[in-house]
Amino acid sequence: MLLTLVTFIPLIAALVVLCIPKEQKDIIKWTSMGAAVVTFIISCQLIMGYRSGGTDSVAEKFDGQIQSVIDDNVADTALKASFQKGVQAIEADNVDDAVGADRGPVHYAEVAGIDLKSLDAAQSKAWHETWELSMAKGAAASEHIRFVEFGHWIDGFNIRYFMGGDGLSLPLIWLTALLSVLCLAYSWNITKATKAYFALFLILETGLMGVFLALDFFLFYVFWEIVLLPMYFLIGFWGGPRRIYASIKFFIYTLVGSVLMLICMLALYFHNGFDTFNILTLMEAAPGFSQTMQMWMFFGLFIAFAIKVPIFPFHTWLPDAHVQAPTAASVILAGVLLKMGGYGIFRFNLGLCPDAMTGAIQLPMWLGGNFIMFMAILGVINIVYGALCAMAQKDFKSMVAYSSISHMGYVLLGLAAMTDAGVQGAVLQMFNHGLSSAMMFLIVGVIYERAHHRNLNKFGGIGAQMPYYTGLATIGFFASLGLPGLNGFISEALVFMGAWNSHTASPAVGVFGLPTWIVFLALPGIVLTAAYILWAVQRVFMGPLKSETYKTFKDLSFREVFVLAPLGLLCIVFGVWPQLILGFMNDTLNTLVSSVIAVAGN
């Protein structure tokens, strides 16, 4: 129930907001804020509950579901026993981590001695669902998925309302809920079409929550697309001067990715006649997919997600979108939307294409030889190229935008390492970047509201004029830079450690290890990042005041402190105590990695 609440409370609030007369701006704002706060509280509850919740309750949930499916559709006791036998066989394979073998419903029907042809329509549907759930149960247990919600949606296509949270998704849920509250607070002085703005923002939040929680591919896709439209309108209506161009570009780029994903989704559905959109079931069955299938699947999904991350060469929409978007939309865009791509790569590319992730699939040399190298090279390009571009920017906001491209490169590099440290670093980097980039965009927003321009070269001396602002901004900048003691450092260090160890740790278990020179190629990224950030800090805050008008600038208002301080605090907290969040993700990520390694061992 919690997951449904966390997903749909914003949507319901959006509908309520739409019914409020548009003159009642305060009511609109407070309703939206209330919904966002409630969502945030529930997301906190999810985080706490996850650490204390046991795995068994989920298993019981699945067992109960399986039992009721059988009981409702199968009357014959002998057949019932066969069904149970099938369930046991699937579970045994799940525990053994049986891979490669045919794990489709037809195979298990044979094992259990069920003659599929003799079943009537309801019974064969029931068998399919039993199979789907039993497979999913295995994955749910090992991935530490909790809070599972299972409901029927479109039975004709085996599309379910299937949600669940694990160590990968729940931190992002929490981040989304937090940033939503902060963004709504920051947007308090929006005067242009307030009602539509807040309603769209809440719809956006629903879409984001759904993307991270959906465990049914179709459901995931629907939420994925729902995110698209509110963002399009937020950029296009409330954005800067070139907003229309930017919004269309954002829309079309993202849509290209998502339609590619659609094809991959349908291809997965039909593969081996599995006929299921259940992500967990597909993950259990994934080791059996043929290499060709995995290769095309990897490409299709990777491009779909790469556009969102964005990964070079699909990144060109991002600077436009960021620069034109209103501050709050930029924050959500950088803080959460980019993570959708990263999340997708972890959930789908890692989960559904294990052979690709072990480097077993050969690629042409110009693509790196295998998928691991392919991703690592793209990651390095992102890191270095993004940093170089950021350094070249005069516009404060586009500098921050390009820094996002650079930072997301670490995610890819960490994943390519395929070591525990690397993967943990990658996911942690997503989370940290969510905090620090959100903070940076807010910092830009604050100064832009006062100066009405963003030209880095025209600032100067703000530090003395706005001390509180400068203090908070410095935390954000240094977190982004990767200063030890702040959160960015931990994740980047983990990524580099993982990538460095990759060549020694991975081959032992049959996974392709990254060569060390990749790490050396990526290292200049750190230097460049330090350079452009320090340079920016110097240009904005240090030196004499460049303009008389800057003297009139007031320091942070209470609302701005309310928005920036928690982010700054969190940057410090997670920098000092990374285990708080790492311990949360470790189990899930380690299982993900080890399940891929298990394929390689086979």
Partner: protein, 525 residues
């Protein structure tokens, strides 16, 4: 000699009822018993005559009231179709037409569409002061012709139904006599339409020669059994496709549709782009299924060689070209009616994917025709909805160009949000019927292994985003000098809302519709 015979027969030319009774015992009873299943058609036929006759006794100022009469007849016909049910499975009138779930489904689709179009006609001011009896007579006649199209089993009925629907459409396109664009559109429509049907007649004659029968079941059987050489079958198929393709505006028979759609009165453009197209697809489906038998695309010779025409590929290529041509042409249109015309060519292309995937490879997969049926339902509401908004805007502002939509978001929230939803559905984004429909079509071709076609469709979807999103952008993101509100009466607002509901419903709860379509009976030719 022949001439002798002719002169002799002049005296005997009358065939009496008794003669028929003697030669075909029980014929009268047989035909009478078929009339029950034929009730909707009879209602429409009576309706045709009623509106024409009743109009003669109505003053011209009140002629628009004929719309109520026509509406009533269509509604009664709809009730009678639904009461008859969807489980029929019999031939009527000696194998001329069939009574099956597939046909009943299309009848409902056509009637619902007509029910939506009639109020649109009544809202259109350019019809004011004209005699409307003939208009509604032609409209109902067109629907009657389409009824025969969707239930035909004999090639004569195919031909007759198509021609009936076509002639009435030609006349309706040019119904606004003073309107020059309408007159030109109608002329182009009739000239090239006739040529297409002439080509189709030639194709049908070849099928008759190949199989020796006019009955679609025999034709299908005959094509499989006789294993004729490929080329003539291909020629016959392509010639027939010229006729059907003209109706559905498939490449390369699409060139008429932008002119006709732009020239016709908006409500009738809506009728043509949705209802006429749906009927065309019904014929094409029956024909395609019939011509090759159920899923029997390839003919295997006794020595094991596989011969035959790769129809999925042929249709797939046509489908790809149709959607590409439609979408790229739509990119550059500034008149919304014309833009929707090109976009409806593109949608015909998407729908043709279902025909290309008629023979599904995998088990449990939905055959292409079910995907087509679903998409047609969604398309009915989304496209008619879009035309409804276009029609309202044209009535209020007198303009059909894109400029009329600038800043509409602030002038009429309902209209702009509604049009936005219809356009999003036409793009194929969730949570709308257009999305679930397109997913099913793409699913059908992916399932059939024609990934390339799915990719073409995907690229086309992206292209289409550009021009659909441009309208959305104009409405919501740009501001116009004219900020006056667009006044809407309560019934019109309700009408618009009524069109939104099914579009969203089909996007979220499409399961029941899918199941319903799955259970339809298709008595094949």
């Amino acid at each position: 000699m022949m001439f002798f015979a002719l002169s002799k027969q002049a005296g005997q030319i009358a065939v009496t009822n008794a003669d028929v009774q003697e030669k075909f015992p029980g014929l009268v009873q047989e035909i009478t018993s078929n009339l029950g299943a034929f009730l909707p058609e009879l209602i429409l036929a009576v309706g045709v005559m009623w509106v024409i006759m009743a109009d003669l006794f109505t003053r011209r100022e009140r002629s628009r009231r004929m719309g109520f009469h026509a509406f009533a007849f269509v509604a009664v016909a709809l009730v009678s179709v639904i009461c008859h049910g969807f489980s029929g499975d019999q031939e009527l009138f000696r194998g001329m037409i069939v009574d099956d779930g597939f046909g009943a489904f299309f009848k409902v689709l056509l009637l619902v569409g007509t029910l939506i179009c009639i109020p649109m006609v009544m809202m259109t001011r350019s019809f004011d002061g004209r005699r409307m009896g003939e208009f509604y007579g032609l409209l109902l006649g067109s629907v009657l012709g389409m009824f025969l199209m969707v239930t035909a089993k004999n090639m004569i009925m195919f031909f007759l139904g198509i021609e009936f629907a076509s002639y009435t459409s030609y006349l309706l396109t040019g119904y606004l006599k003073g309107d020059r664009r309408g007159a030109e559109g109608a002329l182009k429509y009739v000239i090239y339409g006739s040529v297409a049907s002439g080509a189709m007649a030639y194709g049908l004659s070849l099928l008759y020669g190949l199989t020796g029968s006019l009955d679609m079941a025999d034709v299908a059987q005959g094509l499989i059994v006789s294993r004729t050489t490929d080329v003539t079958v291909l020629i016959a198929g392509l010639l027939c496709f010229a006729g059907f393709g003209y109706k559905i505006a498939a490449f390369p028979m699409h060139f008429w549709s932008p002119d006709v759609y732009e020239g016709a009165p908006i409500p009738f453009t809506a009728f043509l782009s949705v209802i006429s197209k749906a009927a065309g697809f019904a014929v094409l489906l029956r024909f395609a299924e019939g011509m090759v038998g159920t899923g029997n695309w390839e003919l295997t010779l006794s020595n094991g060689d596989v011969v035959g025409v790769d129809w999925p590929l042929v249709v797939g290529v046509i489908s790809a070209l149709t959607m590409t041509v439609g979408n790229f042409a739509a990119l550059f249109q500034r008149n919304l009616k014309r833009l929707l015309a090109y976009s409806s060519i593109a949608h015909a292309g998407y729908l043709l994917m279902g025909i290309a995937a008629l023979a599904p490879g995998a088990e449990n997969a939905i055959p292409g025709w079910q995907a087509i049926l679903f998409y047609l339902v969604a398309y009915l509401f989304m496209n008619l909805g879009a035309f409804l908004v276009v029609s309202i805007i044209a009535e209020k502002t007198g303009r059909e160009t894109l400029d009329a939509y600038r800043g509409l978001g602030s002038r009429s929230a309902l209209l702009s949000v509604a049009l936005g939803i219809f356009l999003i559905s036409l793009i194929g984004l969730p949570p709308t019927g257009g999305f679930t429909g397109k997913v099913q079509l793409i699913k059908a071709v992916v399932d059939d292994g024609q990934i390339w076609l799915a990719l073409v469709a995907v690229v086309n979807t992206v292209v289409s985003v550009y021009y659909y999103a441009r309208i959305i952008r104009l409405m919501f993101l740009e501001e116009s000098d004219d900020t006056s509100k667009v006044p809407l009466s309560a019934p019109v607002s309700a009408f618009v809302v009524l069109m939104i509901v099914p579009v969203l419903w089909l996007g979220v709860f499409f399961g029941s519709t899918v199941d319903f379509i799955r259970d339809l009976t298709l008595t094949l030719g």
